[in-house]
Symmetry: C2
Subunit: 328 residues, 2 copies
Amino acid sequence: MAIRVGIIGYGNLAKGVESELRKNPDMELKGIFTRRDPSSVTTKTEGVPVYSSDDIPGMKDDFDVMIICGGSATDLPKQTKEYAKYFNVIDSFDTHAKIPEHFAAVDESAKGAGKIAIISVGWDPGMFSLTRLYSNAILPDGNDYTFWGKGVSQGHSDAIRRVPGVKNGKQYTIPVDAALEAVRSGSNPELTTRQKHTRECFVVAEEGADKALIEKTIKEMPNYFADYDTTVHFISEEEFARDHSRINHGGFVFRSGKTGFDNENKHVIEYSLKLDSNPEFTASVLIAYARAAYRLNKDGQSGCKTVFDIAPALLSPLSGEEIRAHLL
Amino acid sequence: MAIRVGIIGYGNLAKGVESELRKNPDMELKGIFTRRDPSSVTTKTEGVPVYSSDDIPGMKDDFDVMIICGGSATDLPKQTKEYAKYFNVIDSFDTHAKIPEHFAAVDESAKGAGKIAIISVGWDPGMFSLTRLYSNAILPDGNDYTFWGKGVSQGHSDAIRRVPGVKNGKQYTIPVDAALEAVRSGSNPELTTRQKHTRECFVVAEEGADKALIEKTIKEMPNYFADYDTTVHFISEEEFARDHSRINHGGFVFRSGKTGFDNENKHVIEYSLKLDSNPEFTASVLIAYARAAYRLNKDGQSGCKTVFDIAPALLSPLSGEEIRAHLL
């Protein structure tokens, strides 16, 4: 019998889960939960029931695992610990500084209910974190480097759109090639914020707006842009719609370390992602961990976990024999 | 108390374990076992006892984990299952086709003794296998690509040295840049053996040997060279010693897949290694998994495992709180 999966929320990430579940025949999408009026939601997949979030507690026996697709700022800190009382749950909580607090709250709730919760699943946190952990364990004497992009930063795009006179805006974070090459060479460079990334902004200005002032306001914005080399391009609404509708992203994680009795040998580990769709890739990671959550719970385990606690074999639909024969 | 580690064998890999254990303060090298006369072996580390392999069974309470550094062809198929009767063990068995058989034999032995054995640890099999497993679980609709090099192939170097008239030889496997770029673009190319790698040979010929014949013999050698574009350079013994004494290696693992309701989004996952010392890097991986073996066994588990079965957190000397705070 297929693993019965529910989706909580119906934004970009949730739609990614909806599309990618179809590539996993051992899993079945059994329902989508929304805070809106369910009758106002049209799903992309025919025949999938849409329920009100209010119905969640009453359906505890109808789902094996819930993928919670809320935002990290306000939704997930409430939702994950609440829904872990009823289901095995997965979230993509990405507010790094608040992970310990979120972990503790969810752990208490999941243990109380005998359920598994896996938090902070995605690519960063997620696959990038795994690369850092594996690489640090292998090369204790070394340095870590993380670069993001080229890709869309939602937070920086929002910041642009709050500038007076801006109608629409999108910001791409771009790793600096020279910095990537320096890290790749194993030279263990010290890199400033400005040396690692540039920021490129595409802005649709309102009719008659002062473009010079908009550009200055963006470039001098503290925290967001002031520490970076930032480029601002003004474009038309048509160009914006045509060229900047994708939610692509990606990045690089490096560990550069030394071995040998005299530390004479250098090693560079590099992991990179080039993603046309950030939400669909993140959704794909959530789905693999949903499988693991279901299996762990079936095995009698409970509590909050992260990607660090999950044996890789649990992510694969294949058997132990199959993965040893084909992937080892 | 530090984890008490023993090394079985004293070749390049074992010396790598010896040097890299010093970077792991939670572990202690308690002894090296050799089939030679122990008094003939001088270790690089002062004060480490050298024992005869014959003493292994009698020392079962003196070591928490043994890192077995024998060869895959004849040593490991015997050693790992034998020593798993006395200790938690790690090996780097890399004969892909024989992994299921090796796994079964070691599993029986380790289960009988209540010990943990982790086999096929290193980078391929090992870190490359993990990348394949994670990436396949995340992107079920996609293609895998593995490239090796630039690096020294021991098997191909041996093959060169067996050619009449060859005094010394070394072979480098080199991935073809155009193939790497095609895979990186997400175009999912079909690549022949010849399109993926080239082979570069450095040969010291014996005095008066027929170099044209040596070159022809190498280039036409079935399995090893005939399917590749191979270059042969004749060099002096001095050049060979000066430029070709390192045992560097590396490679690339890619997963290129699609997501979206209409499969409209491409994603490329890339993992790569650039290693100055193949044996020291492999040793570093073995050490991290030795830590995991010790912990799993302390937790009451037994039997044969692979990298697929080991939760990443078990590899790190840091606590769960620390890795969540610093690496997630």
